[in-house]
Symmetry: C2
Subunit: 432 residues, 2 copies
């Protein structure tokens, strides 16, 4: 047995109390062996956590990681125009190699901000899976299907690809990769394809992940065409099961909140993206009170524009209060839960909890910073004041992905250089 000890830190427990403890990890199984004192001396490898908070790794429940190549490419436009005029044309130019390097750039950012697992919807998924395998993170991956504006054969091929990818990559990277069937949204994928492929996805045993109720413009056509709200429509098509999870859920009415709670379908709240695209304010407090599992996601870097889950937690607390018109809504404890457990539950990964037997996925946060002083309340600091740069070490599946800000599984300088070249060439093709 090879062991890793994280020593002298303060540990954030599942009940959100903080206790001084060492953490001992079995690197062969990737599980936590023990929390206790003086566990460092006999371990094969140690990570110093003095003056630091050991937290469960952050879980980014909805992302398009390779979109880092489009960070800052187009901003300050409404969702429809932004997608149609800028993002989709540029994405049309992305090669598999672009997706690989964009993903690696995004994974660097995830590791450097303490994220250990994420759910991703994109295309050229084999490239994404290869990058995830190399980087050492956990991920639920899927190919996003869009059928509108495509003829039948092409559209069917796209849906078929999503299904095949979900089947093929489930369990890859020694189990760190899982998958989902991923129709882009209820308005961008035709009814006939949902009817045909959703039962096949069920049979394949993979969850279904899609954007839903992100903007009012996305709700109206479904009500017009089908005479029901989007999530009732989704439920009727068998897309509202406990293993499924939707992104956004901004414009959900009371009945849809009930549907989500009854079905135990997770919602990934993406506050930064919802604000930046002026999509609206998700009723996070009401969803949580109704018993809906709510996690957090950054969405893609083109609508955020970073992939830091600590930013997302702060945004979620702040936007949640505004949405509820109540400063006590979505408190620090709630966003810390959503940042870790909530996202993991929503996307169906084994929970990240700092306790014996749990997966050894964590982030170690340097508390010895002016902006984290004084330590009146470390949960408050995690929610409101900690930044990506405060993450010292990142551990996933018992392996050290970052030690003292140095990423060990990816060559940061080489990835950045390849990304600069790829982005420049991409912009030239897209603008040309």
């Amino acid at each position: 047995m090879t062991t890793l000890a994280i020593t002298d830190g303060q540990v954030l427990r599942p009940d959100l109390t903080v206790t001084a403890a060492d953490v001992l990890v079995d690197q062969d199984t990737g599980a936590i062996l023990e929390l206790g004192s003086d566990l460092g001396p006999d371990a094969d490898e140690t990570l110093d956590a003095a003056g630091s908070l050991v937290t469960p790794g952050f879980v980014n429940g909805h992302c398009h990681v390779a979109m880092t190549l489009l960070r800052g490419y187009a901003d300050d436009k409404p969702l429809d125009a932004w997608l149609q005029e800028d993002i989709w044309p540029a994405e049309g130019e992305l090669t598999p190699e672009d997706v690989r390097v964009g993903t690696e750039l995004g994974l660097l950012e995830l590791i450097k901000s303490g994220t250990t697992a994420f759910a991703d919807m994109y295309f050229h998924v084999p490239e994404i899976a290869a990058a995830v395998e190399e980087a050492g993170l956990r991920a639920r991956l899927g190919h996003g299907i869009v059928t509108i504006g495509k003829d039948g054969d092409v559209a069917r091929e796209d849906a078929r690809t999503s299904l095949e990818i979900a089947r093929e990559y489930d369990g890859a990277a020694a189990g760190r990769i899982s998958t989902a069937f991923m129709p882009h949204s209820l308005t961008t994928v035709g009814d006939e394809y949902l009817e045909e492929f959703v039962p096949e996805a069920r049979e394949a045993g993979v969850p279904i992940h899609y954007h839903a109720n992100e903007t009012t413009e996305e709700v109206a056509p479904i009500v017009d065409e089908h005479g029901q709200r989007p999530l009732a429509y989704a439920a009727e098509r068998g897309m509202l099961e406990p293993e499924d999870f939707i992104a956004h859920g901004v414009h959900v009415d009371d009945r849809e909140i009930e549907l989500l709670a009854e079905a135990d379908t997770g919602v990934i709240h993406c506050p930064a993206s919802n604000m930046k695209l002026a999509s609206g304010m998700a009723p996070v407090q009401r969803m949580r009170e109704a018993g809906v599992t709510v996690g957090l996601g950054t969405d893609g870097a083109a609508s955020n524009n970073d992939l830091s889950m600590l930013d997302e937690a702060r945004d979620a607390a702040m936007l949640g209060k505004l949405a509820a018109d109540d400063a006590s809504a979505v408190p620090a404890e709630a966003v810390v839960e959503m940042l870790t457990q909530g996202s993991a539950d929503a996307i169906g990964l084994e929970s990240t909890r700092l306790e014996e037997g749990a997966p050894a996925d964590f982030a170690v946060i340097d508390l010895e910073q002016p902006h984290l002083t004084p330590p009146h309340d470390l949960v408050s600091h995690l929610a409101y004041a900690a930044a990506a740069s405060d993450v010292r070490h990142t551990v996933c599946d018992g392996q050290v992905l970052m030690r003292d800000r140095e990423v060990l599984t990816l060559d940061e300088r080489a990835v950045r250089e390849r990304a600069l070249e790829a982005a420049e060439a991409l912009a030239a093709r897209a603008d040309g």
Copy 2:
């Protein structure tokens, strides 16, 4: 003449274009001498800016810097309860020494996040001024007056203190410190004190700074008692002049926006605080379109909970879009302007502009970070993706306050240790 050269960087110009240039500074006058090429070799001191963006220093237009001691002390409560149950009782226990160390802790954070100037409303101002003098920043300082619940002599003494402080410290620290007369707000300072002291402040030639229209609860009593909206009431009392500036301005109606524009009174928008306290969404886009000078402020660390102006810029863009229900509102260019020029204009400091003759106040941002890659648009990155930790160097009045993340004017470790002790003792007194 002693000179400082900032070499090999990309410089953000007043028109928000970016050009490769060295910057040469006269450290004796604190002014920019020249932007050009190859200015390093003859300078007395150099700062490397390769791979970095040289931006005007950020200006925090509304803060209570010493409140860093109360960071995380109480969260997730509405403004009134939070102030009355937690913050005011704890502030009642603050000694002058606490204010000194809390200020130093806050100044460390400001310098480390690229802020070179700020406006501050608090008490024990001599301690704050001494810390500012030591730290090397620019500041407009003032003693905040609260008269409600006090008897006449005590209340009058408080107002008198604010006036005397404003007179005494104006021009201190070789001109880096300026002052203002600072009634806390229109509801916490009685009409009779405004009538008596505002003319005296005018005579003393200092601006007036106060909280206004922060919450609906703050608007209603003025309408009830005086039959007019708060800013009409303020105008009538002579508190809406070009040199004056208000904090928040969340609940302003069209006529009040007109009044602000006509008077050329600045508004300091504090998006994080407004969200965290569920105060509401300031109509920033409408104010800017009406010609109001809008700057940005963090407010105190207890309602934010950090003092990073880059966070505030991102929050302002995002909240501004949501408030306007328009993703094109408050774009990246607007928040970068508000972060620098807008705040400087609002609080009446000489503008921070990177051009010959301007004050040498700037931040140097490390662009060689995954989350700032690729460089499609550096103004977008400044608004949406850059973080406090990306600031490499901070220069104010031609002096280097931070070089390669090391603060030169304050002893970071010693300040943090004193702050830990002071906060622990304060919490014990306040809870005891």
